[in-house]
């Protein structure tokens, strides 16, 4: 184990409750990675090692899950992670134009973080908000029926 990386007491309790839900410890990998991402803000190689140790899994089992699922991040993102849906229903209502607008406003490409580490911009596949398209997810909040004006208002209010 490296650098004294360790879950808080509260997270350890949560982990125990999660592991108890499954007949095999390894089944708790996805929820454990969620706990780790929230606590350490990224799943770095050290975190992978820690999680593997906690669940008694090989490193490769943890790494293949990490690289397979899109919602885990191996490096810290900006303070605000903007995820814009560019799939069909959102694109029919202007998502690609909104993407261009966001890129211009933040002065970064999709997949990049602003130099001040405030924003990371990502495009994502269907988020399941097609009835209120276009939609973006900002950290864990969804913003629906998005417009350029709406984006301005949302970004302006952020501390």
């Amino acid at each position: 184990m490296s650098k004294g990386l360790e879950f808080s007491k509260k997270t350890k309790e949560r982990l125990q409750a999660i592991v108890a839900k499954y007949p095999e410890k390894g089944a708790a990998l996805l929820p454990t990675l969620w706990l780790a991402q929230r606590e350490f803000s990224a799943i770095t190689p050290e975190v992978e090692e820690y999680v593997a140790g906690l669940l008694g899994l090989s490193l490769v089992r943890v790494h293949e899950a990490l690289s397979f699922y899109t919602m885990y991040t191996p490096q810290p993102l900006g303070k605000y992670h903007i995820q814009l849906c560019t799939n069909i229903s959102c694109s029919l209502l202007g998502a690609e134009e909104l993407l261009a607008y966001l890129k211009k406003r933040l002065n970064i490409e999709a997949g990049e973080t602003t130099p001040d580490k405030k924003f990371t911009l990502s495009t994502v596949e269907c988020l399941g908000y097609c009835g209120t398209a276009p939609v973006m997810r900002l950290n864990e909040t969804f913003y629906e029926n998005l417009t350029e004006n709406g984006i301005d208002q949302i970004l302006r209010k952020l501390p």
Binding site: A27, L92, E125
Partner: protein, 417 residues
């Protein structure tokens, strides 16, 4: 309009709480099932209801349950598929956010009917509100004695847990979902053995979509025949949630009889096309369903009618495209999606989706060649039917239908350069 069944509480204050759910007759069906019905009677009732799986494949629910062996060396499991990821689909989220107890109650009744003592609800990671609402609902159900040991003093016991996904469309495929629930990357399994025999943790497993399970309490409370009769005359099969998106005036989730004509849904319920434009194309069952031309929108929205015209009901998600829609761009978006989500296990899907994405991107940029359309069809034909899971078909069908039905538009794009 008949009374709403699945969406009757949508928009009501605190509809997600146990108190409100019980006030509206919630958990009466559970009491009826556990106290008055034998497990096999529950299955019979669901059989009678004509309920077919709402996730996409449309398999009769009662029949699926009857495949589970009564005696098995390993524990049996119920897995609710809440990995709603099919583009255009947002109906299960409406149930989970507004009426999570309906899903919990349905899951308990289903588990009782099949002799299951552990249920999991696999929710896509992005649906944070659905996850917290379901977790709260499950805790409330435990506290009230609807879950846990000795439910309603019958001796029956059941544990239930939410399992969060982490971003992978493929996990909506049932065997990929099982892999993911076991903590692995979500790559589909070879079938057979089918999950009904060897599923989660090697035990017999039933996997049903959220909407399917949410119908169960209503079927038990009011009878299978009642549910079946809610379908359109001559069609049956109950009611269905139709999420409508794209160029319509009033997008949203509409609860309507199975067999309602597509035209009626678009014009009478979703308000018609924005700007009163004409319809160019409609995808009737989520992004994987073959696209329909405007001449085809009188089709009834049921499994058989859509199959008869070469499409499918899938998740029931209707995506409407108006006369100005750029279909080359739209198909590029769809292909790019499938290329991104291919899990990489089967060569035709892994390689084919990537090549199709390259070709359609080239066409859109005005660098297409006259042979490109046949190349696209050739690749799509090479994927279809040649992969372990239905995602290969899902990627091929939009390509085949868009390019065949709207070939002129694609050719114009290439000619224009």
């Amino acid at each position: 309009m008949p009374e709403l069944v699945l969406t009757k509480n949508v928009g009501k204050k605190d509809s997600h709480t146990l108190g409100i759910y019980e006030q509206g007759g919630g958990y009466q069906a559970l009491k009826k099932a556990l106290l008055e019905m034998k497990p096999e009677d529950v299955i019979k009732e669901v059989d009678k209801s004509g309920l077919r799986g709402r996730g996409g494949a449309g398999f009769p629910a009662g029949k699926k349950w009857s495949f589970i062996p009564k005696e098995a060396p390993k524990p049996k499991y119920l897995t609710v598929n809440a990995d709603e990821g099919e583009p255009g689909t947002f109906k299960d989220r409406v149930i989970m956010e507004n009426d999570p107890h309906m899903l919990v109650e349905g899951s308990i009744i289903t588990s009782y009917a099949i002799g299951i003592y552990q249920a999991y609800i696999y929710v896509r990671g992005e649906y944070t509100r659905s996850i917290s609402r379901l977790e709260d609902a499950i805790n409330e159900a435990y506290a009230r004695g609807y879950l846990g040991k000795n439910i309603l003093d019958t001796g029956y016991y059941l544990d239930m847990a939410v399992h969060p996904g982490a971003g992978a469309y493929i996990c909506g495929e049932e065997t990929a979902l099982l892999e993911s629930l076991e903590g692995k990357k979500g790559q589909p399994r070879m079938k057979p053995p089918f999950p009904a025999i060897v599923g989660l943790f090697q035990g017999p497993t039933v996997i049903n979509n959220v909407e399917t399970i949410a119908c169960v309490p209503h079927i038990i409370k009011n009878g299978g025949e009642w549910f079946n009769n809610l379908g359109a005359p001559g069609v049956g099969g109950g009611i269905k949630l139709f999420p409508v998106s794209g160029h319509v005036k009033k997008p949203g989730v509409y609860e309507l009889p199975v067999g309602t004509p597509l035209r009626e849904i678009i014009y009478n319920y979703a308000g018609g096309v924005r700007g009163d434009k004409k319809v160019k194309a409609v995808i009737p069952g989520g992004s994987s369903a073959p696209v329909l031309k405007v001449e085809e929108i009188d089709v009834k929205m049921d499994f058989n009618s859509l199959a008869a015209i070469g499409s499918m009901m899938g998740s029931g998600a209707i995506i409407v495209m108006d006369e100005d829609t750029d279909l080359v761009k739209t198909l590029r978006i769809l292909i790019k999606f499938y290329a991104h989500e291919s899990c990489g296990k089967c060569t035709p899907c892994r390689e084919g989706t990537g090549w199709m994405a390259k070709i359609i991107t080239r066409i859109e940029k005005g660098q297409g060649e006259s042979s490109d359309l046949d190349a696209l069809l050739d690749i799509a034909n090479g994927i279809r039917g040649r992969t372990l899971c239905p995602m290969g078909d899902a990627a091929a069908m939009p390509v085949q239908s868009f390019v065949t039905k709207f070939r002129g538009e694609f050719e114009d794009y290439i000619k224009r350069g």
